[in-house]
């Protein structure tokens, strides 16, 4: 019997505690959160399923290495305060991660219980603990203490961008008493957490609370400051910042390069989601930013962003929403939970179809979509079976709105304004993998501007690595 084998076979058979959620028929009419969270009883039952492995594989599966058995043990013991403290040791945004991490491929994907049955619902437990503590004082959440005067004399670090990677750096360093200033280009803080991820998956109030907690810890936030434009890396070094962290995310949306892409009614997922999430276009005309929704909406791509865009279009009144994807459901990169939610909400999956042309009317508005049938071939370098076009098999589908969610390229603003910053051939920032440092000393980078579009948690992992190195250099 190995060290990781379950000690008690009965526990394995306890089914995973389901997550209460808004019924699909209801939730497609609103933007409120889909999943409702565990009650204390549900959390206690689910936590007791954890067998407290001596060598926890789940922890290795987590990019920020949360002490997962540690916090779950405290839930079982009924000490939620301690559970929260354990979470916070390595994760600055537990309420966010509990909601949007791809747990099935990370912590839960590594859970030993998953070998024979269902893994412990680690993400749901993380969310439960974080949400319980959301209710308490922000400063106390972080420090366990009402006094927040942690400043170390003379040390200051700047973060460019206020998304998950920068927030992690800010949370980590400010907890060590280092003054952190965060510069954000948009008028709201949170980066992709607020402009990209819809309210029904991650309420903005949750993000705001996490940020408030950092503010209480002394982090200063500056909105409407564009990194590379309003302020450059050199400006920050000249102003005496001991280190600069660049966490500006992935920028430029990618398009399909098929005819008709600039027709009216064709949006990038970033535009559509930014209009709705940041501009609150679902509340037009009370809020001024408009976003229309067609009757028949096609979404290209099958990642989380595509699911978010499709489900948003449904909520804004689309009759038919199709995910048009070149491969099959099996290869879809979205979180399983989000894929299920989308299907429950009536989103159609049109697999093995590749868009070849967007067709417009005489006024330049999108009216239909031509797709080509595909089949799967041998696995490519991504490990997934590559799609191959079936000769001559085309189909025209009526469609008056299309959303392109096939990823992003690197944003040029920081690169253009930072002489000496090494970029790779795709324009992403080159870093030392161990420390997160760029080619400029004491300038660090992490998240999507280094890796290209990835997940919130991987950006946080990168932020954590850089923050650890910055702290080591500044305070030893």
């Amino acid at each position: 019997m190995s060290a990781n084998a379950p000690a008690d076979n009965k526990k394995v058979k306890t089914p995973r505690t389901p997550m209460p959620e808004q019924p699909a028929a209801e939730r497609v009419k609103n933007f409120q959160e889909v999943t409702l969270g565990y009650t204390p009883e549900m959390a206690a039952i689910e936590a007791s399923r954890c067998i407290q492995c001596k060598k926890p594989l789940c922890r290795k599966g987590c990019p920020v290495e949360i002490d997962i058995p540690g916090f779950i043990k405290q839930i079982v013991a009924g000490d939620l305060h301690e559970a929260y403290r354990v979470l916070r040791e390595t994760n600055s945004l537990p309420a966010v991660c509990g909601r949007v991490c791809p747990q099935e491929t990370q912590c839960e994907g590594s859970c030993i219980l998953g070998k024979k049955g269902e893994p412990v619902a680690i993400g749901r437990l993380e969310r439960f603990v974080a949400d319980t503590y959301m209710a308490s004082d922000a400063c106390e959440q972080l420090t366990g203490d009402h006094a927040c005067s942690l400043e170390r004399e003379g040390l200051k670090v700047a973060c460019i961008g206020a998304g998950p990677s920068s927030l992690t750096v800010a949370g980590y360093l400010s907890a060590q008493g280092i003054k952190v200033h965060v510069y954000e280009a948009l008028h709201e803080l949170g980066g992709v957490l607020v402009y990209g991820i819809p309210e029904f998956r991650l309420p903005k109030a949750i993000v705001r609370k996490e940020i408030d907690a950092m503010r209480a810890q002394g982090v200063e936030f500056h909105t409407n400051w564009v990194g590379g434009k309003t302020i450059t890396v050199q400006d920050l070094l000249d102003q005496g910042f001991n280190a600069v962290f660049i966490g500006v995310g992935a920028g430029l949306p990618k398009f399909l390069r098929v005819p008709g892409e600039n027709l009216i009614g064709v949006f990038s997922a970033n535009e559509y989601l930014t209009r709705v999430n940041l501009g609150r276009a679902y509340n037009f005309p009370e809020h001024d930013t408009p976003a229309y929704t067609g009757k028949n909406v096609a979404v290209f791509g099958a990642g989380n962003v595509a699911m978010d865009a499709a489900r948003t279009a449904k909520r804004l009144g689309a009759e038919r929403v199709m995910i048009v994807y070149r491969r099959t459901e099996k290869e879809m990169p979205a979180r399983l939970e989000e894929l299920h939610h989308a299907k429950d909400e009536g989103i159609e999956l049109m697999c093995l179809n590749a868009p070849v042309e967007l067709v417009g009317d005489e006024k330049g508005w999108l009216k239909s979509l031509t797709v080509q049938k595909m089949m799967l071939g041998e696995p490519d370098e991504s490990g997934r079976c590559s799609p191959i076009a079936c000769d001559g098999e085309f189909c025209e589908i009526p469609c008056d709105m299309a959303i392109i969610a096939v990823g992003t390229g690197s944003n040029p603003l920081i690169g253009q304004s930072t002489p000496g910053l090494e970029l790779n051939k795709w324009g992403y920032i080159v870093i030392n993998e161990e420390t997160g440092e760029t080619s400029i000393p004491n300038v660090f980078a992490g998240g999507d501007i280094v890796t290209g579009a990835a997940t919130v948690i991987s950006a946080m992992g990168a932020g954590r690595r850089a923050a650890k190195e910055i702290a080591r250099r500044l305070i030893g």
């Binding site: 400051w225 430029l252 535009e271 037009f284 229309y292 330049g364």
Partner: protein
Amino acid sequence: MPSRILKKRSLIPGQTSELTLEAPHIAAKAKPGNFVILRVCEGGERIPLTIADTDKEAGTITIVYLVLGKTTAHLETLKEGEEILDLCGPLGKDTDIHKLSGPVICVGGGTGIAAMHHIAKGHHMAGNHVIAIIGARTKDLLLFEDELKRFCPEVLVSTDDGSYGHKGLVTEILEARLKADPTIGEVVAVGPVPMMAAVARTTKPFGVHTTVSLNSIMVDGIGMCGACRVSVGGKTKFACVDGPEFDGQLVDFKELSSRLSAFKVMEQISYEEFKKSHVCKCSCR
């Protein structure tokens, strides 16, 4: 960060005004060709406006707007001393300004004259001889003539109705000027899309490099959303980070003008609602 309105000057009553805004961090960096994105109030829309002038010492920037929809109408209600909620910039690439062997002709139409003014000033500072050609429907709608005269040896005017200057289009003056002077080094045009398209058509036979500044729809203005995409030389470019200035001969103006109409209906709804609530406030005496 919020930005205080230090000075407001009505250029065309009820329609076009000039605001001098306190924005030292933007003024310090702003160059000709740059723009800002602003949001007037909570719940407001982000809109791009070109920077018409800067004063680095005073820490101010100047913007000029035409009341077209709700956001600009709301802006028009603000008074000196009041604040704009969010002002973000400077955005966009700087105008490529260098010493030219011949004069540069800067063409401006409508509110575009204000944006053109900043570019013309930049050319003047670089030591270029600047010829300004400005046009409007009628004399009362003409902007920045006096400002341009301060540094442009020639300011040529056209009005559609002939109430002032040449009766007709700016392109007619432009064509005559290009014919008369083969040494013209560059033409810059800022104004309504049909005007910029006409300028590009006019300069084409003369082979003079023509720069246009595009006013596409934007959301973030930092290269994230792709709303501002334009076809330039058959390639998709983002006006916010690749522009807003492009080679006029390569721009697909037809597509640009079509894309600008995308939200017309919704913009009208929003504006009508605003007018209703605003008129109500003013008339309830």
